[in-house]
């Protein structure tokens, strides 16, 4: 029992034993549960030495997968920033039906696999638009376009849900002031609306990037898994792993892991900025 200090009674769990045990336990569990997998990825990737790692990472199909994944992410994040901005703006300015909010959040809670199936049923050969697409000689499924579409669907809530609470809290006073002083719509947008939400927008974009780079379930339904053509990096990792090419799989995984760590770092910096 800790002697009562004058002035400030101890809070629950402030005793030195409880404190040490709990912090120790938390660090130990996190080390085993979250840090060990990361450490393992790097040791496995480097198990064949630096040359083996370099060879694995510069493999043609892996490089192609990296490029495809990054291009997809860039396109998806850009569109989602625009969509998220428009959706959050509309939802905070006009009173839409509550259902709209649920629909925007929906992709967040359904399994990516189900998302992929939906798109297959919509644009696949036997899908709703299948005959029309076939008649116009447009092939969508099992192409990079399909990968982009599905990733877009799955990551669509990320930007909007970061922006919405902020835009609702800020209200329309500043925008009205700008408009009444004679600023046009675009001027108001770029000089008032956007600067107010830039950090939240960036934050949403970071989360969206991480999610689109790692998207696996939905993409694996619609990509067709053609090596060197429609294989994104996570799919390429699955292929290599199932080929018993552990070095190749883990080498490819290191790039995604580094991106994940960079995401966390960026998030930390942003949070410090936002609270500052």
């Amino acid at each position: 029992m800790r002697p009562d200090m004058p002035g400030r009674p101890a809070r629950v769990g402030d005793g030195p034993v409880a404190r040490r045990v709990l912090i120790g336990l938390a660090c130990l569990l996190t080390l085993a549960f979250l840090v060990a997998p990361i450490a393992l990825i790097f040791t496995q990737a480097l198990a064949a030495g630096p040359e083996g790692y370099l060879r694995a990472i510069t493999d043609g199909d892996t490089l192609h997968a990296i490029v495809l994944t990054l291009t997809t992410a860039a396109i998806v994040v850009l569109i989602n920033m625009l969509f998220g901005l428009a959706a959050a703006w509309a939802l905070s300015r006009f009173r839409g039906p509550a259902l709209l909010l649920v629909v925007i959040e929906l992709p967040y809670s359904i399994s990516p696999i189900v998302g992929g199936v939906m798109y297959l049923l919509l644009y696949g050969n036997q899908g709703l638009f299948g005959p029309w697409l076939a008649a116009h000689d447009i092939r969508l499924m099992f192409t990079p376009a399909a990968i982009i579409l599905v990733t877009l669907f799955i990551t669509s809530p990320f930007v909007a849900r970061e922006l919405l609470p902020l835009m609702q809290a800020q209200g329309i006073d500043e925008e009205e002031a700008a408009l009444s002083l004679g600023a046009g719509f675009w001027r108001t947008m770029t000089d008032v609306t956007l600067p107010n939400v830039k950090w939240a927008l960036l934050y949403g974009a970071i989360l969206c990037t991480a999610r689109s780079i790692g998207e696996f379930g939905g993409v694996s339904v619609v990509s067709g898994n053609v090596r060197g053509q429609t294989n994104t990096l996570p799919l390429q990792i699955e292929l290599l792993y199932n080929d018993y090419n552990a070095t190749g799989a883990f080498a490819a995984a290191t790039t995604l892991t580094l991106l994940a760590l960079a995401t966390i770092g960026a998030k930390m910096l942003l949070e410090r900025r936002r609270t500052a």
Partner: protein, 251 residues
């Protein structure tokens, strides 16, 4: 956004009720629901305990490395699920870092139900921490001090003041964690072993039916996952509403 949903609903309703029922109640499908639900339950129980501990330690104690520990909580969200999947499988394989410690004890993780639970736990780890943390931060020290001056012991304060305050948020975090686990795919398929009737999750069964070009069956099973997601969404919204109201009452 609604169009894909419509396509799935149309395809699912084009099946007769009897045919739909036969597909979704086949032994293989039923077993996949059991495997998925059990896995999600294991994951949620683990994350409930781990999440509470982490939220408590991160809020109540100041120590070097706290910021880093806090940032690490987001790792499962940032790490692609396929990467998590191969890393966890290798860790828990019989010769892996953890596997070779556990196998003499007769505990098998890779390619078992327990492994599925662990993979789901990894990907849904942030939810409980991140819902409980802000609520715990908001509890004023004065309330605890008042209780102590009135003669309450640590256990009483914990049970009568702190626990009721964080309980709604804790419940919401558990619901989110469970929902995410139900839909998890990437991390699970590597560690599961994917034996039909034993360690096959529902999401994978959907994909297998697709690869067999059995679109009606894939659609029917996907619709079950979708309905489960809707139910969980309704449940989490209800819990969050309850926690909002509860918060207002205590203030």
């Amino acid at each position: 956004m609604l169009l894909p949903l419509l396509a799935l609903a149309l395809k699912a309703t084009s099946l007769s009720w009897a045919a739909y029922w036969t597909i979704i109640s086949s032994p293989r499908a039923l077993s996949s629901y059991r495997v998925t639900l059990t896995g999600a339950l294991i994951a949620t129980v683990w994350n409930a305990i781990y999440g509470l501990l982490m939220a408590w330690v991160l809020v109540r104690y100041a120590f070097s490395g706290r910021r880093l520990l806090d940032a690490l909580m987001d790792l499962p969200m940032a790490l692609p699920t396929a990467v998590a999947g191969i890393a966890l499988t290798t860790l828990f394989a019989p010769k892996g870092w953890f596997g070779h410690l556990l196998s003499p004890l007769g505990i098998k993780v890779a390619y078992t139900q327990l492994g599925i639970g662990i993979a789901m736990a990894f990907t849904s780890a942030p939810f409980v921490v991140r819902t409980v943390q802000p609520v715990l931060e908001e509890i004023e020290p004065e309330i605890e001090e008042a209780a102590r001056t009135l003669g309450a012991g640590s256990l009483t304060i914990l049970w009568r003041i702190l626990w009721p305050a964080i309980f709604p948020a804790f419940l919401a975090g558990c619901a989110l964690s469970f929902a995410r686990s139900l839909g998890e795919f990437g991390a699970v398929i590597f560690i599961a072993g994917n034996l039909p009737l034993k360690t096959e999750i529902t999401a994978l069964l959907t994909l297998i039916r697709l690869e067999e070009f059995d679109y009606p069956a894939a659609t029917a099973i996907a619709s079950v996952l979708l309905i489960a997601a809707f139910l969980m969404l309704a449940l989490t919204n209800a819990v969050q509403l309850y926690s909002l109201r509860h918060g207002e009452h205590s203030r």
